[in-house]
């Protein structure tokens, strides 16, 4: 939540810029946005109509670059570096941060080996420094570094931009959760009704016994 608040202004700034720029100046804007240290969301900028005018022109690699930062990972970049502009240090760092978010989307426990492979990091010390300084201090993840089990336990990870196909999955998950909650409420109400009925039956039973005792006493 707070990461979203932090980057809201930055997004607005770049969206306003993108709306008035064209051609190569848009490329400069893309480089600026993908280098900004506190920006981790790009779908708003991507949805500005001017950006799609880059499609099919000599600048379309910058549009691909923006898509890469919105949805892709460092590994993907390495596999397609020839079709994409070269990255400066800030962009490399950001893409690796975004890769951690993508990894955290599927697992809560991120093994060091997987992280080191995905982020091209050669030793544990460097990996832990990256997680602490570039991810936790940046506020994009919260978690626990478990040196004994050589893994990073994610407690919170900021959301990345959603690819269109993810939306249905999210709606499905929320609907699923809603029906689970509804069923739970119904079963709690049934249990309460059951307890009331049992209580009533117990009270009747007790009354019958007391009546019987009275009868026996009289007789």
């Amino acid at each position: 939540m707070d990461i979203e608040q932090k980057q809201a202004e930055i997004i607005e700034h770049f969206v306003k810029q993108a709306e008035i720029l064209e051609g190569s100046s848009l490329c400069t804007l893309v480089v600026e946005a993908t280098s900004h240290p506190s920006l981790f969301a790009f779908s708003e900028i991507l949805s500005v109509p001017n950006l799609s005018t880059l499609e099919g022109t000599q600048h379309c690699s910058y549009l691909d670059l923006l898509r890469l930062f919105a949805y892709g990972t460092w590994n993907y970049y390495k596999g397609n570096a020839t079709h994409l502009p070269s990255l400066c240090l800030d962009q490399v760092r950001k893409l690796k941060q975004l890769s951690v978010l993508s990894l955290a989307e599927n697992n809560k426990i991120l093994p060091y080996d997987q992280l080191m492979r995905e982020l091209d990091v050669s030793n544990v010390r460097e990996l832990e420094d990256f997680l602490i300084n570039e991810c936790m201090y940046a506020g994009i993840v919260r978690g626990k570094i478990d040196q004994l089990r050589r893994c990073f336990e994610v407690q919170f990870a900021a959301g990345r931009d959603l690819r269109p196909e993810q939306l249905n999955l999210m709606i499905q998950t929320l609907a699923n959760w809603l029906s689970i909650s509804d069923n739970l409420l119904h079963s709690i109400q049934e249990k309460i009704k059951w307890a009331d009925n049992m209580n009533e039956a117990d009270r009747k039973h007790r009354k019958e016994i007391e009546d019987r005792i009275e009868e026996v006493k009289k007789s």
Binding site: A41, A104, F156
Partner: protein
């Protein structure tokens, strides 16, 4: 709204809140303990 979508996606990713062998074992242990307690209480009543 993209920002809201990102927040919902980040939130959903925290579910299930906890899932591990140890949690299940502890959970079943608690259920057994409670069953034993209610059994003892029923005995005491009888």
């Amino acid at each position: 709204e993209n920002s809201l979508l990102r927040q919902v996606s980040s939130f959903l990713r925290r579910l299930p809140a906890i899932e591990s062998e140890k949690f299940q074992d502890d959970f079943l242990m608690e259920i057994n303990d409670t069953l034993l307690m209610s059994y003892l209480a029923m005995f005491t009543n009888c």
